[in-house]
């Protein structure tokens, strides 16, 4: 293995476990890569070189002592979205209000990663409190897309997606409230999975919209995402909304998919997730992907989900409403920023001054929209009606999954847009979540797998595969089959087309 950073997580694990290389060597290679390119990409908010090397050394020591690997990913490095609490690293959520905050406990996802011997390299950049689709809403500056450093890497998990595309890490963790794993995956040519709601614990995941937030795996291949999914997934008594059911057999499904036979699989193309507002090159790449699924034996039909047209407005009422309540915890009293405490001002004044200084514009907008939507007199017309629309969207999914096994669409209507292009137009930014939101509202599983590049700009396009609740394995099977066929046809992986960042480094 010449360049360890170009390998998949599965390949790295195999080489580490067979002692062809060591976890320390692999970790060092990724830390070196970060040092070389993160000045240009800015995927990380915090890098824990010492902690990562110590964790890697512990894995090597156990393997050298003849013990079995703690998990199939033991020794493999990972980039962690800065929205999960870590006792040994700061947790900022991309916000000034939590600058430098060191939580007193680890999130369950973090605990599981450590127990599995996964090496956490550091914390990745994100839109503040996961509100955004470009990572421009981070208080610590934007992350840049490794495909084109003038463009956004998606959001809110743009740090995680960019770290993968920049070969700074083979694995990453994201969270998906309205598309924050899948849309960054789409625009960076990487794989992003939103598990079924409740499939991955939310304990220690700083809450934005509790009924929608879901952590999940990010990787450069479908199999790697599946391996990570099985490490972090499963019931957690510390999260009362965690599903008490076995993790769907996603690794087996990904391995089965690689065989490339989709005969008997019924694929539904969602009528409503196409047409006006979609970039023509995205639609062409999507159509070619659907053709490929058909060539693999899938039976493709068109399916209408009429209420999906109302998913975006319903989401932008429900998510801000929950956020206005959740973010009330940032009150300048127990942790985080406090400003204006001059011994004359009241707690309430200090609270308002702190929140004004500590939150960015998008967070303030959403808190105010949520406050509005939950006000008496507006509640029924806004929040109440949005909850009813949510029911209708779930019913659309139920009806569709009565006749097909999975649904497909483009992951997001366009390729990566330029940094700054939508910064002053919140509604234009919200449209990036058009195709991903329905699965957050209904809670079912959905993922994005790269499906080539758009012919007008050469930037990556994502194929979204949506599966029924707790049938996450279906998406993995279809995506793995598609990915294998795509790479076979192209003669190489899509991600290998990312430009040389050392040259581009500024």
């Amino acid at each position: 293995m010449t360049d360890l950073t170009r390998r998949t997580a599965a390949e790295l694990a195999a080489a580490i476990h067979s002692r062809a290389t060591t976890a320390v060597e692999v970790t060092r290679a990724h830390l070196d890569r970060i040092a070389a390119v993160d000045g240009a990409v800015h995927a990380f908010l915090h890098i824990d070189a010492d902690g990562a090397l110590a964790a890697a050394a512990a894995v090597d020591e156990a393997l050298d002592a003849g013990r079995a690997p703690a998990s199939p990913l033991a020794g493999v490095p990972l980039a962690l979205k800065d929205v999960f609490t870590t006792a040994d690293m700061p947790t900022t959520c991309g916000s000034r209000i939590l600058e430098g905050w060191r939580p007193p406990y680890d999130a369950t996802v973090v605990r599981r990663l450590r127990d599995a011997g996964v090496v956490i390299l550091g914390k990745t950049n994100m839109d503040e409190f996961a509100m955004g689709s470009s990572t421009e809403n981070s208080a610590y500056g934007p992350t840049r897309n490794p495909w084109d450093l003038d463009r956004i890497p998606g959001g809110s998990g743009g740090g995680s997606s960019a770290s993968l595309a920049a070969f700074e890490a083979p694995l990453a963790i994201g969270t998906d409230t309205g598309g924050s794993i899948r849309q960054p995956g789409s625009v960076t040519g990487t794989v992003g999975v939103k598990p079924t709601y409740g499939g991955v614990s939310r304990y220690g995941l700083v809450a934005f919209s509790s009924s929608l937030d879901q952590g999940g795996p990010c990787a450069r291949t479908v199999l790697d995402a599946a391996l990570l999914h099985e490490v972090i997934g499963g019931h957690d008594p510390l999260d009362s909304t965690s599903v008490d059911a076995p993790v769907p057999p996603v690794v087996a499904a990904a391995r089965a998919g690689v065989a490339g036979d989709l005969s008997g699989v019924r694929v539904g193309v969602v009528t409503e997730l196409s047409g006006e507002g979609y970039q023509p090159g995205v639609l062409r790449a999507f159509a070619a992907a659907v053709d490929r699924l058909r060539a693999l034996g899938a039976e493709v039909v068109e399916v209408s989900c009429p209420h999906f047209d109302y998913a975006l407005p319903a989401y932008y009422l429900i998510a801000p409403s929950e956020c206005s309540s959740n973010l009330a915890r940032f009150d300048a009293m127990r942790y985080g920023l406090r400003v204006g405490d001059d011994a004359t001002r009241s707690a309430e004044e200090v609270m308002a001054l702190t929140r004004e200084a500590g939150f960015g514009a998008e967070v303030k907008r959403r808190i105010m929209i949520g406050t509005y939507a939950l006000s008496s007199g507006y509640y029924d017309a806004y929040y109440g009606q949005a909850q009813k629309v949510r029911t209708l969207i779930t019913r659309d999914f139920d009806a569709a999954f009565g006749s097909v096994d999975v649904l497909v669409s483009p992951t997001t209507p366009t390729t990566a847009f330029r940094i700054g292009e939508r910064a002053d137009d919140p509604m234009a930014m919200y449209l990036a979540d058009l195709c991903t939101i329905p699965s957050n509202l209904a809670g079912n599983a959905a993922l994005s797998v790269p499906c080539g590049v758009s012919d007008e700009d050469g930037l990556p396009v994502g194929l979204q595969v949506m599966s029924p609740t707790l049938a996450d394995d279906r998406g993995y099977r279809v995506a793995a089959a598609y990915e294998a066929a795509r790479d076979a046809a192209a003669g190489d992986t899509l991600i290998s087309a990312v430009p040389q960042l050392e040259v581009a480094a500024r």
């Binding site: 406990y105 909304t241 300048a332 004004e356």
Partner: protein, 110 residues
Amino acid sequence: MPTISRTEVAHLARLARLAVTDEELDVFAGQLDVILTSVARVGEVAADDIPPTSHAVPLTNVFREDVVRPGLSQQQALSGAPRAEDGRFRVPRILEAEDRLAGPTMEAEQ
């Protein structure tokens, strides 16, 4: 539907404990109006007889055994506090001057 005024945005900001500036009020008023007008489209859906969904996974109460287990230590709980004193959170005054003279009475809801 909505045209949201600058005054209404100022009211929302106060409810949400955000000491927004005058310049922000100008920007936010326009932006919130665009957003709220757009999301008001949910009203087009005939849904009078549809039950609301508050959560993707239908759940009732989740119970666990009532056993004592360690929580955060005092030191851990105070580790992120902006100010602490005598092992407690040090907070700015919570009563107005006249309240302090009059003693602890409930402030009327606004």
